[in-house]
Every structure is written in structure tokens, then in C-alpha cells.
Amino acid sequence: MKLFEHEVKEIFRANGIAVPPGRVVSDPAGAVVAYEWLHVPSVVIKSQVLVGGRGKAGGIRFAASAGEAAEVTRNLMGFNIKGEIVKSVLVEPRLDISKELYLGITWDRSARAPVIVASASGGINIEDVAHENPEAIKKIHVDPDLGFEPFVGRELAAKVGIPREHSQIFAEITGHMYALFVRYDAELVESNPLALTGDGKLIAADARLNILDDALFRQKEFGAKASDRLSELPPLERKAKQLGVQYVELDGSVGIIGNGAGLTMATLDLVKYYGGEPANFLDAGGGSSEESFLRALGVLAENPKVKLIFVNILAGITRCDDVAKAIVKAKTELGLNKPLVIRLAGTNESEGRKILSENGMSAYSAMEEAAKEAVRVARAGEASA
């Protein structure tokens, strides 16, 4: 679960990491109050959205008077940033930044440990820096026995080339950030930029903290927020999430249901390989039951972009007869009338096939054959449309 910048800054502020003073507002009048409260000539007004790249998309603007702050806020409210609508903005003093640094902590798969990443080239997409100028990125892995000790922060400061007068505070910020990483079960804690200001302070000008969804059971203060955040998702993805199936919407017309993430991914790839365009990724789950399949079919039945549904099941724990029953129910009870291409193999395959044939349907046994047929049906549908 991603937190909004202003929420993360509250957490930073309460945990020893300096952030600019700021107010979250959602209308021009609020922006005027914030401007006057800040009592500075120039402010930055930042759209509060969860997607990255809002600066490039025009979601961060400046204002030099109360009237301008109101005007900018009016323009930003309701602004669409990569599909996400701006519902609030954060008003802060415009900082006098002399240097932009990067500091972040995340999990390193290959080292199997948390990694603290820092760079003197902050303020821009850190993945671009990593790509174009990898030497500019310094990393330290956290030792599982030691955890974080202050010397780790000092070492990092030295590697990055933080000026000596700031290295102590940089090390402290690193330690505070690691404490938050652990306490909040974070996937990522980051400040980009961590700003060195003209008057010699280190301030988290931007702040991100993503909490691992799997840890929400013990991050109770965020549990309620997590369900609110569902409203940020596209409607069908939200519905799928509520139903407990894995769903990602794509641009094509071939609806796809598989069991298990890997097999579903491979099914999408195969449809694409044979010239079709997947409409979605929908994993009904490795051990899915009749009910979960019915729910999965329901999600796709509602999507108008889906011209046909390709069901690809290799049943291990899942049973083919449960899948077949769900398909029959989807037709009779949900009124599913999109064309279906079905592949069934594995546990209880013959029982599943029998149920399908009693209801005038049939199934392929090889996924490649089924994928070719799904693409053919999709194309025929487009040609006749």
C-alpha cells in the first residue's frame, strides 16, 4: 500500500527526519490560508497522488502570491495524472536547494537483504541514474545480525561524498529511515530529493513509503486506509481485489483466466505470440475452487472490452470439474454470453470434460492449440464487427 506524500512527511517529521512545513488542502480557499500561514514569498503546490512521475506530468507547480496559490490549486484539483485524479494538494515553502541527493531503502532480491541506496545525483528518476550512471549510486546491505548501526550511515555518507559538515546528520537520517523501514514493514522508504538547502540543512523535500500489503495484518493503523485506497484503482481491478483474485487490466480484447500467476502470465504471452491482444491478467488462484472461478468469470463478463474469454486451466489442486461447473453456472446464472475458449488438463479432467459436453461445450487439452483458437475467434469477431 502506497502512502501519500503528506502522510509520509508526517511520519518523517515525527521520527527525526526534517521535512518542510506544509498544509494539505483541497480547494482554493484552503490554499490561500496555507499560503498565509506559511508566510513565505514563494510556495510549491504538489498534487497528492500515488503514481510516480507527477512532476513531469505537470502535477507540481509554484505560486508567488495568495491569489496565485488559489489559482494553481483550482487548476490542479481534478487534474488527471496518469489515470489518477488529484483530490488534494500539499502547499509548502519553495526551498532554496543547493544540492539534490537521493536516499532510499528497499529489498534487494539477489543479496536477500535490505539495501540502503544513496546518490549525490538526486531529484530525478533514480532508475534512470542507475541505468545511465551506475557509479553515481552507492549501496550498503544491512547485515541481519547487526541491523543498522550509526557507522553504516557514516560509511554511506563518505561513499556518496556528502560534505563533512553534513555527514553526521545524513547518517542520522539514514538510521531514522531504516527504523521506519522495519517498523512499517516497508517495501520502500525514500526521499528524492533529500535536499541540501542554501542555509545548510538536509530536508526531505519529497517522501515515499510503501507498506507491504502482506504486513497490513500487523500495521493496523493502515488497515482501514488500505480499503479506502482501493478507490484509487480502476473499477474492475478494485472489484477483483475485493473478491480476492489477481487482476490487471490491459488494452486488448482477449479476456484471460488462468490458475496461478506464472501460468496466467504464460497464457498472456502465448496469446500475444499468436497475434492476439490480451485484455487482462486474471489469476483465479493456484488452488481455486468453483466459487473463485465463478467470481473470476464474473469480473470478465462485466468488461465490455473483452470479446471472448480464454480459460486456461492446468489443474493440480484445482479440479477440472469445479472449473467446468463454474463455467456452466456463469452462463446460466451470470448470463455470460461472450464466446469461450477452454483448455482443461490435469486433475479430474474427464469429469470436467463430461460436464462441458453435457452443456454443449468442449475443451482443448493443449494450451498452445487453445491459444491459437482464442486468437482466431477474436480476429473473426473483429472482422465481423
Binding site: 541481519p144 545480525d145 506464472g262 490480451p278 493440480g316
Partner: protein
């Protein structure tokens, strides 16, 4: 031989009295796995399925039965505790099936196992099977057959798919390992390749990867340096849009890192044959086995 598990593996099931643990304990027994004990705190002294003794602690179970592998089905909030208990009881192999374990918890028990020189597989994995000998985990026994192909995979059902296609093509498997799709896992591709490389039964290896991270690239490096057996790879996720999570936590493409194309390039440079579709895997394995035996 096979790797990690065989006829002599004595399995204890942590969480045997739970719904998942109970179901899969029965499936394992039906497959022929020697399930010698169960552990559920507070249920010690009872029998599971009329024959498998249940203990309160792993230590008691090991002392009484000589178990040498544990498979964990306990719910995510308690999984770290269960895994540490197994590692501390000096079990050489701990297989963590449980999904949704917080990454921090996985890091704690995986780093502890490394320090103690014990092997962890998973978490969030389907376990492993040495067909015809033993299975530890949740893989459906029916799609596998005993043979000479080692399989290592980040996925569950895709592994079954490819094993099913191998089996249909008459290519049995030595051991099939699902290493799990989480960001922090106990056994990676390189660990599995190292074991398959040494195993006398295994004559070819199939590696099933997916988008995200750089595990496949590291595997390619290792293969180039160390592995002389033929390796065939399949990588899922070429249609995945950047930044979106495709089911597995690790399966996210960011920038150009982690793409199928980048991984396929690394594999090809290491002499690994890359299958574009799943049904190409058995064809490539069959032809590479022919070449090595000629």
C-alpha cells in the same frame, strides 16, 4: 539419486492439524512420501489420520521420529516462528509453503538458516518433488514422472504445465523445485543449478523464470561459468506492462531491468536455449539430450 529429497526423506509437517496442512499431508502420504510427524503447538499427543504422531514442538518430533525435513503450512503471522523452530532443531531442509509472509520475517529466518548452514526453500512456493520417490509440498503428483530432467522454477502452476508437457513427451524428471515468487527466498536458481550440476541422475535442466529482478541474469552468469549440462529456459511475462504486479510480488518490470528480452539475451549469451512457448521446452530438452548422449 535426485536432489534434496528421495525415498529416505522423513518429513514432518508443521501445521498438520490446519486445513491446508492436513489436506496436503494426506496428499503427500498418498504419493508415498514418508510423513513421520506433525507439529502443532497444543495438539501434541494426538494422531493425525490415525497414524502420524503429532507433537507440540519440532525438537520433540525430531527426537522421536528422526525427521530430516520440515514442510510449513502455518498461517503467515506465525510462519517466521515456525521456520526458526525448524532451523534451530537442525533440520537440514525447511520448505515454507505459506504465502503472504512479510518480507522482514522471511529475511529473519532465511538469514538465520544461511548462518547455520541449513537449506530453506520458499516461502510462498509449491515445494519440491523427486518423482516416484518423494514429494514435499503441494505439487500435484500426477503430472510428474521419474526421469533425468531437473526443473527449477519461480512459479507454481506454470511448473506443473511444463512438467506435464515434459512427461507427455516421455521426458521424466529427477527433481522439480518451485523456489517461490517472493522478493526474499531461501533457495535461488543458482543454488538449485549447483545441486543439479552435481547430481548424477540429472542430465539436463529446465529453468522457468519470469519478469522482475535479476535472478535469471545471475543464473545465466553461473551457467556460463560452471554448468556443462544442457539448460533450457522459459521466461514468462513478455506481455506484462511496466510497473504492474503480475500476481507474484517479484514479478514487476521496472525500466528495462527485469524484462523477458533482457533475460533471454543473458541466457543465450550463456549458451542456454530459450523456449518461446511452453511446448517448445520438451522439444529443446529432447534434442539437447540426444546431442549429449551422441
Amino acid at each position: 539419486m535426485a536432489i534434496l529429497i528421495d525415498e529416505r526423506t522423513k518429513v514432518l509437517v508443521q501445521g498438520i492439524t490446519g486445513r491446508e496442512g492436513g489436506f496436503h499431508a494426506q496428499q503427500m502420504i498418498a504419493y508415498g512420501t514418508k510423513v513421520v510427524a506433525g507439529v502443532t503447538p497444543g495438539k501434541g499427543g494426538t494422531l493425525f489420520g490415525g497414524s502420524v504422531p503429532v507433537f507440540d514442538t519440532v525438537e520433540e518430533a525430531v527426537n522421536a521420529t528422526g525427521a530430516n525435513a520440515s514442510v510449513i503450512f502455518v498461517p503467515a503471522p506465525f510462519a517466521k516462528d515456525a521456520a526458526l523452530e525448524s532451523i534451530e532443531a537442525d533440520l537440514p531442509l525447511t520448505v515454507v509453503i505459506t504465502e503472504h509472509i512479510p518480507t522482514y520475517d522471511a529475511w529473519r529466518f532465511i538469514s538465520h538458516a544461511r548462518r547455520k548452514g541449513k537449506r530453506v526453500i520458499g516461502p510462498n512456493c509449491p515445494g519440491l518433488i523427486s518423482p516416484g520417490r518423494s514429494k514435499v509440498g503441494i505439487m500435484p503428483g500426477s503430472v510428474f514422472e521419474r526421469g533425468v530432467v531437473g526443473v527449477v522454477s519461480r512459479s507454481g502452476t506454470l511448473t506443473y504445465e511444463i512438467a506435464y508437457q515434459l512427461t507427455k513427451a516421455g521426458l521424466g524428471q529427477s527433481t522439480v523445485i518451485g523456489i517461490g515468487g517472493d522478493p526474499i527466498i531461501g533457495t535461488g536458481f543458482v543454488d538449485a543449478l549447483e545441486m543439479f550440476n552435481k547430481d548424477r541422475v540429472t542430465r539436463a535442466v529446465v529453468l522457468i523464470g519470469e519478469i522482475g529482478g535479476n535472478d535469471e541474469e545471475m543464473a545465466a552468469d553461473y551457467i556460463l561459468k560452471e554448468v556443462r549440462k544442457p539448460v533450457v529456459a522459459y521466461i514468462a511475462g513478455s506481455t506484462a506492462p511496466p510497473g504492474k504486479r503480475m500476481g507474484h510480488a517479484g514479478a514487476i518490470v521496472s525500466g528495462s531491468e527485469g524484462t523477458v528480452a533482457a533475460k533471454a539475451e543473458s541466457f543465450k549469451a550463456a549458451g542456454v536455449q530459450v523456449a518461446v512457448t511452453p511446448d517448445e521446452v520438451p522439444r529443446l530438452v529432447a534434442s539437447s539430450l540426444k546431442k549429449t548422449s551422441a
